[in-house]
């Protein structure tokens, strides 16, 4: 379109948006669609009876108008409106990135974030988790959710920051397997609640017997990304330690796929060491998900980043901040699996002196270093940082929640993608009371957290689809999931799970991850195939036996009728024939 071609300066594009600077109209505009924002003059022209732009190209309209009227922005006029925005402001407008795009999902995400935090806290403190999850319906679309744990509690000073400040957390900076990663989740949930209902987040926490229980009502100041404490007092609370979070929000409670019910059930499957009491709207008594094992998963260790996983920007930052005095030392100390020999090789390949001062490495030198890293063979990162669920635990988790007859599970050895260790686990339940005509139910988990949205975009689904399940005895239509009475449980554990978006719904399909997924699925598939074949043989035998019972008497009747035989002969014929046939099917 000519309008687009005539746009003179890319920098003046009204849609230009960065995290730091953003146009004021955009901030005030109630719409999340930047494309629809109309600059002042154009808006005036429109109000004065300007022609409506064709809907197919709304984004070309503002620039075209500005051009025609000759009233282009100047750098100065724009500068007057450019100012910093806070991350919380940014996320207020982009809440869909965090999983709050619709009311049903918002309810699920809020609960999910609170549960993730509770489970992480309990495990870090070495406590077997007991969780209470309550959803109370206040009005048609209004809910009060509460998640309570028996965790270590939160130190008084930290409470407001954890719940009232985005990007505040302990997990972002560490390479260690955990449910939460960025420190956005629970504060974003609180912010969503505040935005939709105006109500504060309520937090009740106690760090131990003899210590007071602190009660807070907190709101987030979205401009400053800082907590505002509304109420702060000490209250009576029975549990010796733990945390309770309550958020009031606008949402939708539904059953079925994507439901909170499903999420809680899947969480119970993937965390058999955890006990959950779940109350939901319309439910009479809280639903109990009992604990299937008394052993906590082994505590994951923190590791240093592996050179293969680091990006250029991060590398430059690490070199600037290192405490090592020379380049080789920095490589050795700040990364895992870099010996002095490997550090030497990297420096040589990058044509840099090992003794160079890491703080004065120029950008082009860092770039050489970055390329050199990938040309040197470096040992895979340590995998002690991973905490897989384990075959036995997967089986115990599945057996208590899935009414199947046959179960199998496999935990693969750890592998590495882009320098990040990961581990794939697959569990399978087949037969029993599972519906036999439906498509296979694929339960996806990342670091023990159920993934319920964006199924088709996820590496797990792609891996399941890439396997020909027909060779294992299931039916499978082209391009569809296999059909049969089966539930697949697929778990990826990693220090950094590569999600396709911040709402953590789908896993990116790195070749290494796909390969491991396929191998694990095929392993379970082979066991399933053997099971189905054995089962079919058995059924066949049964059928044959009943065939003999059912039809041989009719041969007797027919022969008696044709030959006018006495009944004694008929009975003899039937008995003999049965013996002859029974004998013939023995050789199995």
């Amino acid at each position: 379109m000519p309008e687009i071609a005539r746009r003179p300066r890319a920098g003046a594009e009204p849609r230009q948006l960065s995290l730091v600077a953003v146009r004021e109209e955009d901030l005030e505009s109630p719409s999340r669609e930047k494309a629809g924002a109309v600059p002042g003059p154009a808006r005036a022209a429109k109000a004065a009876g300007g022609v409506e732009p064709p809907p197919a190209r709304p984004d070309s309209e503002p620039a075209a108008r500005a051009h025609e009227s000759g009233r282009r922005e100047t750098a100065e006029s724009m500068a007057a409106r450019q100012r910093e925005i806070s991350v919380s402001e940014f996320f207020t407008k982009n809440r869909h990135l965090l999983g709050f795009d619709n009311p049903q999902k918002a309810l699920l995400t809020a609960i999910k974030e609170a549960v993730d935090n509770s489970l992480d806290a309990c495990e870090e403190a070495g406590i077997l988790p007991v969780l209470k999850v309550d959803i109370q319906q206040l009005a048609e679309d209004r809910f009060r959710i509460a998640v309570e744990d028996n965790g270590p509690g939160i130190v008084k000073a930290q409470v407001p920051k954890i719940f009232g400040k985005l990007l505040y957390g302990s997990k972002f900076h560490t390479l260690k397997q955990a449910r939460g990663q960025q420190g956005i989740g629970i504060s974003a949930a609180g912010m969503y609640g505040l935005l939709t209902t105006g109500k504060s987040v309520v937090v009740l926490s106690r760090t131990g017997q003899g210590k007071p229980a602190h009660y807070y009502e907190i709101q987030i100041d979205t401009r400053k990304n800082a907590p505002q404490i509304i109420v702060d007092e000490v209250r009576d609370w029975e549990p010796p330690h733990g945390t309770r979070v309550e958020i009031e929000l606008v949402g939708t409670y539904k059953k079925g796929r994507h439901s909170v019910d499903d999420y809680v059930r899947q969480t119970a499957i993937a965390n058999p060491h955890c006990e959950i009491f779940y109350s939901f709207p319309g439910g009479e008594a809280p639903q109990q998900f009992p604990r299937a094992t008394g052993t906590l998963p082994p505590e994951p260790r923190e590791i240093k980043p592996h050179p293969y996983g680091v990006e250029l920007g991060a590398l430059i930052k690490m070199l600037k901040e290192t405490r090592a005095r020379n380049l080789a030392g920095a490589m050795q100390h700040d990364f895992s699996r870099v010996s002095s020999r490997v550090a030497g090789e990297i420096c040589q390949a990058a044509q840099l002196r090992p003794s160079a001062n890491p703080h004065s490495i120029a950008v082009n030198e860092a770039e050489r270093l970055y390329k050199a890293i990938n040309s040197v063979k470096i040992m895979s990162p340590p995998t002690s940082c991973l905490s897989p669920i384990g075959e036995e635990q997967i089986l115990s988790g599945m057996k208590k929640e899935i009414p199947a007859a046959f179960f199998t599970a496999i935990t693969r050895s750890p592998a590495v993608y882009r320098g990040n260790p990961f581990q794939i686990e697959v569990g399978m339940g087949y037969g029993g009371e599972l519906p036999s005509d439906d498509l296979v139910d694929v339960l996806r988990f990342a670091n023990r957290v159920p993934l319920q949205y964006q199924q088709s975009a996820c590496a797990i689904t792609k891996a399941v689809l890439s396997i020909d399940w027909r060779s294992y005895g299931l039916s499978m239509a082209k391009g569809a999931l296999p059909a049969g009475p089966m539930v697949l449980f697929v778990h990826i554990a990693s220090v950094w799970v590569p999600f396709t978006s911040e709402s953590k719904e789908a896993i990116a399909a790195y070749p290494e991850i796909m390969k491991e997924l396929r191998l694990a699925l095929q392993d379970c598939g082979r066991k399933l195939g053997a099971h189905i074949r054995a089962h079919r043989r058995e059924a066949e035998e049964e059928k044959k036996k009943s065939y003999i019972e059912r039809y041989i008497p009719h041969i007797g009747i027919a022969l008696r009728e044709i030959l006018d035989l006495p009944e004694k002969v008929e009975a003899e014929l039937v008995t003999t024939l049965r013996e002859v046939l029974e004998r013939s099917r023995m050789p199995h």
């Binding site: 044959k544 065939y547 003999i548 059912r550 039809y551 041989i552 009719h554 041969i555 009747i557 027919a558 022969l559 009728e561 044709i562 030959l563 035989l565 003899e572 014929l573 003999t576 024939l577 013996e579 002859v580 046939l581 013939s584 099917r585």
Partner: protein, 375 residues
């Protein structure tokens, strides 16, 4: 199993000692085998087009001798039991001079508990097996079909008998007005009187109606017979007996499409693959093909429809697998011509040139050159 070289189709309801004997001896065979602790077997001729031979001098599809053996095993026990019960039913019918239609036999099986048939096609298949097993006509076993034989009008007197009085009934087929005489299910007992020049066998009831209404048989001195699709055994047998009786030529007038040629005409002339053991009696080898030929479509500028996928498949299949079509080069080239044109034309397409064009032009023109008819 009994070897019966020359089975003679007879009127249903007549006790047939030979059939009874054959039934009993086969049952005795089975009984002996069982008591000897051996698995009993039954041998059936394979009933399909792949198991027939075409002898032009004999003029019909003959069974080629392939047999399938059904041994009583765990997997065959159900069919085996059903086959034996069907034979027992047949024995009962023959002994008591009774008959059962295919559908009635199916309903009788509902007393057989687990061995009953769920759908009639299942019982029909078993009945066909039994028929082939004894190499007899199913009417001899007491089973009669439901289907209607066909309609007749024209220069023919059929001699039938009154069941009560035994008196001969003279049925004059010129005296049905705009209606017609209906061919009965069994035709062996019928006799004929006729001075017709030929028999014109027609596929569709619509064309038959036109020719009857305009007394075409009077004009052409012929007998008109409507088959209404693929001719039934009774219809084939009726035409055969009538044609044999006074050596009257038989001309067949069907739609110009693969179904009309390979299914209707071919079955009438040489029989079917399914009943190959009986084709000898249920075929009309003297029949020739009047139309509509692929060439007629060109010569008479007939309106056409494109060949459907099933038509194309049927035509290709006939060229490749049908022993009758393959034997006659003229038929192969006619089928190829049809495939090349990619169209089909119905009998009634002649109406394009005027409703009675068929009577005034098409039939007289064709009949003046019967030597050009396709075999």
């Amino acid at each position: 199993m009994p070897k019966k070289k020359t089975p003679v189709p007879v009127m249903a309801g007549t006790v047939n000692k030979d059939v009874l004997k054959a039934i009993k001896s086969s049952a005795l065979d089975i009984e002996k085998k069982i008591l000897a602790r051996k698995k009993p077997t039954m041998k059936f001729p394979v009933r399909s087009l792949s198991n027939v031979k075409y002898h032009p001098d004999r003029g019909y599809f003959e069974i080629a001798g392939q047999k399938k053996e059904r041994t009583l095993t765990v997997n065959t026990v159900k069919t085996f039991a059903q086959t034996l019960r069907m034979i027992a039913l047949s024995k009962d019918l023959v002994e008591n001079d009774d008959i059962a239609t295919k559908r009635e036999a199916y309903y009788v099986s509902k007393n057989w508990e687990d061995a009953r048939f769920l759908e009639q096609p299942e019982s029909d298949t078993v009945m066909d097996d039994v028929e082939a097993y004894f190499s007899v006509n199913r009417e001899q076993l007491g089973f009669i079909p439901e289907e209607k034989g066909g309609d007749v009008a024209g220069r023919l007197v059929v001699l039938d008998r009154d069941r009560d009085t035994g008196r001969v009934l003279r049925i004059d087929c010129t005296r049905f007005g705009t209606g017609a005489y209906s061919i009965p299910i069994t035709v062996e007992h019928l006799q004929f009187e006729t001075k017709a020049d030929f028999i014109l066998v027609i596929e569709t009831a619509g064309m038959f109606q036109r020719l009857v209404k305009h007394n075409y048989w009077k004009k052409a001195n012929c007998i008109l017979i409507s088959m209404g699709g693929v001719p039934t055994r009774a219809c084939r047998r009726f035409i055969r007996r009538l044609a044999d009786f006074q050596k009257i030529p038989v001309y067949v007038f069907v739609d110009g499409d693969p179904y009309g040629i390979t299914n209707i005409y071919r079955t009438l002339k040489v029989g079917s693959g399914n009943a190959a053991h009986l084709n000898e009696f249920f075929c009309v080898p003297q029949a020739t093909f009047l139309g509509i030929t692929p060439q007629d479509i060109v010569d008479y500028k007939l309106p056409t429809h494109p060949l459907k996928d099933v038509d194309i498949k049927r035509a290709r299949d006939a060229i490749k697998n049908d022993p009758f079509i393959r034997y006659h080069k003229s038929w192969v080239s006619a089928m190829e011509q049809l495939l090349k044109m990619g169209v089909r034309a119905e009998q009634q397409a002649l109406a394009k040139h005027g409703l009675n064009y068929v009577i005034d032009h098409y039939l007289p023109e064709k009949l003046s050159h019967t030597e050009r008819f396709l075999p």
